[in-house]
Symmetry: D2
Subunit: 357 residues, 4 copies
């Protein structure tokens, strides 16, 4: 179903960029979990724009209203609904391009899919704005996971060809906390990455990048083989984020088996692997090591240069110059989205695992 996800925990996302409100309903939450609004607000702020020159000037004063599912600060276990009313809507920025397809956007494919009835203002339901309800739902799930000893942290390791570093063994609270302070959440080279973004902006261009995400504190035995594995479920969730085009679990690629294989060890009475090339997952099931994966973010399709395109109603070729506000790079803003969508997928699977304990 288009904008719903999950098995034990089902989220249903709604809204359009320039509609009245965006929001999400989460069904199936466990009851009695603390709803940590500080975490939610911190995540929403991280996702929002206007903080520095690498991002668009659009200010989104996102304040969440909880409509149901929270009582005395705890989840009730019945559906939890959150909305944010859209404030700063500048529809006219986009009105002149309603039938002209922005290249590498969903304008044309969406037009065909919805026979021209979808709300096209600001990208409508396809807008990056819709990552806000993902963050609303996911940060709430993250708060619940944190209380169970599970942490999730992302790290940008490439922007526009500027390489940073993978986290490797640095999977600890200190590293995560210092990462979270950064506006470009990268363990290394964030200054060069910022420069690259600013250069792209000056050139009326945009850049993409790569983010890795790790999940620590997750026990072995979570997930199921074949189609309900950790990879399947995280991938299905992560591809809900508009600009993500790739996902890869584990770290290295051209290794031979003798080097790639994660040999098992017993450390302090616990099963560990010497390396973690499989990203904590074997046969779709966690092995007790951190889950590690990386995603590819494509360059922002909205650029200020004139581009060739078509008017898909008149079916003729034309040119487009996108004058609205847009980021030259969405990688930094994708970080909270990746963490939050991971939180939703992981909480769902952790709940599932209780059935089999």
């Amino acid at each position: 179903m288009s904008s719903t996800l999950g098995k034990n925990l089902e989220i249903s996302i709604f809204g359009e960029s320039h509609g009245d409100a965006i929001g999400v309903v989460i069904s199936g939450l466990p009851s009695g979990e603390v709803v940590d609004k500080d975490i939610i607000n911190r995540y929403l702020k991280k996702r929002a724009t206007g903080k520095d020159k690498t991002m668009t000037a659009r200010v989104e004063a996102d304040e969440v209203q909880f409509l149901s599912g929270v009582y005395n600060g705890y989840t009730t276990g019945t559906p939890l609904a959150m909305v944010i009313y859209n404030g700063d809507q500048r529809s006219k920025d986009y009105s002149n391009i309603a039938t002209t397809a922005r290249p590498s956007h969903a304008d044309y494919s969406g037009f065909v899919r919805y026979k021209g009835f979808n709300d096209i203002r600001g990208g409508g339901h396809f807008s990056g704005r819709l990552t806000t309800p993902m963050v609303m739902a996911g940060s709430l799930c993250y708060g619940i996971l944190k209380n169970k000893g599970i942490d999730i942290c992302a790290n940008i390791f490439e922007i526009g060809g500027v390489k940073g570093e993978r986290l490797g063994n640095r999977l600890n609270k200190t590293t995560f906390d210092s990462l979270r302070e950064k506006s470009i959440q990268a363990i290394a080279n964030e200054d060069k990455m910022r420069e690259e973004i600013l250069t792209a902006r000056e050139n009326l261009d945009s850049v993409g990048g790569r983010i890795e995400c790790v999940v620590t504190g997750i026990k072995a035995g979570v997930g199921s083989p074949i189609f309900d594995g950790v990879e399947n479920n995280i991938a299905k969730a992560i591809f809900g984020i508009p600009a993500i085009k790739g996902i890869e679990f584990g770290e290295e690629s051209e290794l031979r088996g003798s080097v790639y294989n994660d040999v098992l060890q017993i450390k302090d009475g616990k099963v560990k692997t010497a390396t973690n090339h499989d990203g904590g997952i074997n046969g779709g099931i966690t092995n007790g090591m951190p889950i590690v994966f990386a995603v590819k973010v494509k360059p922002t399709p909205s650029i200020s240069r004139p581009q060739n395109t078509i008017d898909f109603k008149q079916m003729k070729e034309t040119e487009i110059k996108i004058v609205g506000r847009h980021d030259p790079c969405v990688v930094a803003r994708a970080v909270p989205c990746v963490e939050c969508m991971t939180a939703i997928a992981v909480l769902d699977m952790v709940m599932e695992s209780k059935i089999y304990e």
Copy 2:
């Protein structure tokens, strides 16, 4: 649900490597579609082993029995069940390692998940053998898609560091037909790839690789935004194949937006894009260009060298030497699996699209 997949077309896979039979039930098939047994047998043969020295000597004489859902050569529309009885079972090859985890296999994670009750012989339900029912179901779906003008073809473009080529614009029947004749289905450099595999075998080692897969003839407007997009659904299906650890849609990665963006054109009255960096998908929905994606196959975890590991029942460190038959590289055998799982995901979405036409 662990071994079921799909919305309009639901497949339920069952079996263990050394059990009585493996098979699949497909619910929701359209009625009146030709069941092309030649295609199914061709695919099964391609997936099977024993053809040359790059693969294991195990001979799998796989003959499909249709138990239901086919009548006079056409799909009935009611559930279609297929089974293959397991013949050549050499349980003793594996019996001595029942409680010793093969590194980078699901032995340990599966043991925790199933509390030691899963059938561990030959990997049980986690075995590569379970890709057979995927191929059974997927090749049947492929036959149906082909009659609708949709074609699917994969191309190996890297094995063990030996690079081949991406297909690029060579997306035509002639190329596909010549590719399908090859035992290493690569458009270029298959001889060097074969050498690399044989070298790995000699070194008691294994190698992985990369496969791209393309879907041609698919119209615009298939798929839905956010969580039911083409990327989400193909990724969820593809990660059902045991050795796949990554998927990436489209082709290039470090391009800037001005180069990456697929500008739209009108050619012979039809909408096309000048490039296809988005792999035929915008906002989760097809744009009429071929779907293009690449997957990463990890090196075969079974290698003949001694490896450090643990006995997970006795919780002590030990060593393992895997003596059973195993491929030094499963990339070539993954090709039909990738094509077939893609066929299942695509047919499901094409059926879905009829609702919205």
Copy 3:
């Protein structure tokens, strides 16, 4: 998933009786369908209370806000969210009974299910108030079905032992229109039914009843065998209405096969059956005759008499006197709920049938 329903059309209901708002998100709607707000308001009014002495004095000024999914009066095809902010909330009416179980209510079962964290004010998520989002979603679906020539109408044929009549062959617009005008939507004996309700009220008691519901204009071939049949799907939807305890398809019960069997005929070139004891469904699939079923509504559990019960926190027996506002009979108010939940289930199946045409 607890408060979500549907396959092609997925509704996710949220809210609590005394929370900030109630609402529903509908995913998967076809695009380009007229959103008929008059129909929605007419249905909400019918569901609301305070109209005559047979119902509670509580006035619900229900005004729907559309948050997404509607553009220029048409469905966009992306998720449609509707909310109603709760106004007239008298929490104190219920506060004194928070840990005392109202007999035949969900107070105790809900307490166990949610470990005491559910919002218990006014019944919380279990309240009859939650039928409002059902009516919001269902009346919108009804409007869409109506434009496709499908009509749905319910008829009360028993209240508190007072029998009315089944519709039988009177399945036409004139009958339906006149039925819809009535506050007790019964084709016969509504005055005696009203008397029975008032008598129950005077006796500080309550009564239940039976409603039949018919769907006309639905073509043959909708639905699927075994678990995805018309009966399965309507039943699953209808049991979402709190007070419904039974459902029966078709009309008569103790007939022999020779009388029960609906013999087929050809009338004006169309297939009909001489009788409709099967309620328009064979093998889970519509046969072209109207769908006919009846539901049983239990007597309102809230009565003003003192009742024995327990305090489930203190685990001791006690007595309860429910002082809040409550209807002596909810059968009349269940009528729009039954029609609306039927509309949701039917639209979902009609959409599904397009896949197989």
Copy 4:
């Protein structure tokens, strides 16, 4: 999806009356549960025919083959597949009526649904034969529930107008055991019921009836509100049985609230209700009392009298005389089906409840 059911426990049923085999795949079973083949065989025997004159002479020597999912007598937790090869197939009995609709059968509706491609021999996928895989899967689930202290037993309380008795308070092992010994599983009046069936047979006619089913030993707190309640899930499962046309939870119908309401008590430190008119369910959730519901079985549509009907290919009216073997009453054979489908639905919900504990 047409022939699949369940959330945590997914069953996928396949087969046609005169096809090669029928069977079922169960995904999501807990691992380490005993597979009690005696229970399965006892249930299959009970469902089979040929035992006395009230049933058809067709002998079904049903022997289950386990293809996967069982290892050393325990469930592995991975998909469990069972098949029965069809032996005694007399296709010619039905061949002459292939395009003539048997009244109140799915011949015509199925023809439209599947555009004439479904296997029509013996009713194909619509045949009562397909209740065998239901019994295979359900009896396995029943065995698992029994080991958890949950019992399920059905009781016929009406056949062809001949009334028996409801079980009322007689919900104990002794009653259940003695009931299970009977070929007509009724606590009272089974001789008169048998006579009624034989009379129907003599008159070339058929009769229906009513069965109640109880689930004992189920704890409070199982199920979820609104659409995932116990009523919704049991109803969805039960309507999978071909001849079932109605279901009603609890016992009485025309009671007033003051009598109907199940007042809560504490007995031996446990919560009980004085009566059980709600059938053990409040707000979709178990309250700790036995689940009680009744189903209506329609009269067997196959009767030996000539009946008016149509040829739906030639679209002309004609007559039919069904000469195959058929039961004058399927109520007794529906008993194991009702118990087994209940077991599937209940086990699924019991598994679900572990998430929320």
